[in-house]
Symmetry: C2
Subunit: 386 residues, 2 copies
């Protein structure tokens, strides 16, 4: 917990919930008759509502991107290193909106919320959502907040996919897109990793085909295994070598099947922690949204043609040792944007931290990110007013 | 099944079993009072028993490395591409010995064989074996066969680790060592992948702490998941892209959690097939042997000092897209051998096939391997005789 709130923190924040009554027809063809979105905001919306920045979260993220919910919190929101007064996304200049996506488990409608038709938790009946459904729901949240056009939409990993989708789905509604450690679509290898993780969950006997809440249980073992695998692939071989090497928990081999190497204990710890804080059906849904994302598929698999619909400017960032969303995949986005004659800045940041790098306070990363966001701030239209 | 045995096949082969009564003290301190090793041989042992080549198998391999057990077999042994008349390991010149390692599940003593003390299958009570234990048992098999010195000891992956161990444990008993797609020790990342696989098995409710045979069941789900993950990591991102890309099973998305992409179906198929043919306790043991292997640990972590004990010549091979046993790891072996003033040849083979490449008939790979084995054949001492 913070003894006192740091000066560069957005401070204590309170989530808000908006209930949407307008039905949402999803990519799958199914319809959500109504739904809630939970969100947080940091900074002040200016008079003409032109300084708003949307944060799109990744697989296990939520609306709590910065600051603290109480003085008892032992850590701040998940992207506190990038959001706050004087930080890359400077809340002295921007009004920042972070939400929990549909299908999530942190307050927005999803598998653990009540299905109004049945009065019971949705569980596995919650419809599979696609990235475009999230973007549609985010646009409706923008409408509620009176934000006609975002100064920037920003996200890493699965969040970056939402940013890309924003740029072609609502080209007039954002001026800048910041796409970090992302990809234009998953590779077969990435889909395969997701499927192995889903299998771990689905085959946990406590999963009960997703109806674990009705059975008063949780598929903790499966979710733990899924997270161990995910976590492992978000780190780089180098980072794990530096952090753990072949260090032994008890200084010697025990010739048993209990974790003996530090790296095993670490993954067990991470997996166990996650298995009680996150919803398994949400994990299944989020990985499916990742697998499905392929905006170029609607344009004869031509990413250039797809991105030619964008009207915003782009910053694309990648990290040298990220092997699940490698620099090559970011380069594909950049190449397509260049061929589509878009304004794009690109940097590949030296880092040992694999995919996790996008969440870490790496100086060169935050410097480039800050510099770009200063340009975004300079682009904010002045005068007028709503 | 072969309609007729190909000309370059070793033909129909029959496994043999040798029972060892001399107790084997294992690395862990435990003692195997007696044990069986099952093995196959191809080609003819020459009069002075100087043309023998030992094949060491990898994680899921066995003694059936080449040829057919019957005309009903639908495929030959696992390394048939490299072993046979006129092939890299030319059975016109060499007497080839392939065995199933201790702890295996194909006929050598292991978790599914009967513990003579209890009259029941060993199950989880079978002791954890280390690479050095395998090498000791292989040396005893050599004694039985009257082979004082191998012309070469050859293996890929975990098999390559056994070859390295041979070179320092019995330096006078081999003239050549062929180490393919291997490493001087596993990285933290590799240990982590193994632990995720072991967890999948151990947490399968049908595992019963390894006593599944007593419960008349098999932990098929866990073993399937372990294999899906293993298989996925033995392929390269590129190979999976070329083989599957984002191809859909039914040509369209179904928005369901059943496998939708071809790559998912493929992994399910591979996992299911493996889950009925392989023993889960053996899988656990073999991955532990991988984790533990670190011969330099006995020499102040100095691989040069460790390998300075070797007396043989070396061929080291790696494959460009192998990311679980990357070329950099082979290079570490090569660098240490050079610094230890050993005679070593090294090639990194261009291949899209990831770690699996070492089992595949890649022309440049087999050419280099053949050329080296011709040198091994030329080194066979002539005259004398037993």
């Amino acid at each position: 917990m913070p003894e006192q709130i740091p000066n560069d923190s957005v401070g204590l924040v309170t989530p808000q919930i908006h209930h949407f009554d307008q039905p949402l027809t999803l990519r799958s063809g199914r319809v959500l008759p109504s739904y809630d979105l939970v969100y947080e905001t940091y900074g002040e919306l200016n008079a003409d509502k032109s300084n708003a920045v949307l944060i799109c979260h990744a697989l296990s993220g939520d609306h709590h991107a910065a600051g603290y919910h109480s003085m008892e919190d032992n850590k701040p929101g998940w992207w506190d290193s990038a959001i706050g007064p004087g930080k890359a996304i400077d809340t002295n200049r921007f009004f920042v909106v972070a939400l929990n996506n549909l299908g999530g488990c942190s307050g927005s409608s999803g598998p653990i919320s009540i299905n109004p038709d049945s009065g019971k938790p949705w569980g596995p009946e919650f419809p599979i959502v696609a990235v475009r459904d999230w973007v549609t729901s985010q646009a409706r949240l923008a409408d509620v907040l009176g934000i006609q056009q975002w100064a920037a939409v920003v996200g890493g990993s699965l969040g970056g996919m939402q940013v890309l989708r924003w740029s072609i789905q609502y080209p007039e509604r954002l001026r800048h897109a910041v796409v970090i450690a992302s990809a234009p679509k998953l590779s077969a290898q990435n889909i395969a990793f997701n499927e192995v993780a889903r299998q771990a969950i689905a085959k946990d006997p406590e999963f009960h085909d997703g109806n674990y809440l009705e059975h008063n249980t949780l598929p903790k073992t499966g979710l733990m295994q899924a997270r161990m695998l995910g976590h492992l692939t978000y780190l780089s071989d180098d980072a794990m070598k530096q952090k753990f090497g072949r260090e032994l928990k008890e200084g010697k081999l025990n010739y048993s099947f209990a974790p003996e190497f530090q790296v095993e204990s670490y993954l067990h710890y991470q997996g166990e922690k996650f298995s009680t804080r996150f919803d398994a059906n949400t994990y299944m849904l989020m990985t499916k949204a990742l697998d499905y994302f392929d905006p170029a598929a609607d344009y004869d698999n031509d990413l250039v043609q797809c991105l030619s619909h964008a009207r915003c400017e782009f910053l694309v960032l990648s990290f040298t040792t990220d092997w699940r969303f490698s620099p090559e995949r970011s380069q594909e986005i950049v190449d397509a944007l260049i061929h589509a004659d878009k304004n794009v800045s690109y940097a590949c940041i030296e880092s040992d931290n694999g995919h996790d790098a996008f969440l870490l306070p790496i100086p060169r990363y935050l410097d480039i990110f800050s510099a770009y966001m200063q340009r975004v701030a300079a682009d904010i239209p002045t005068g007028g007013g709503a």
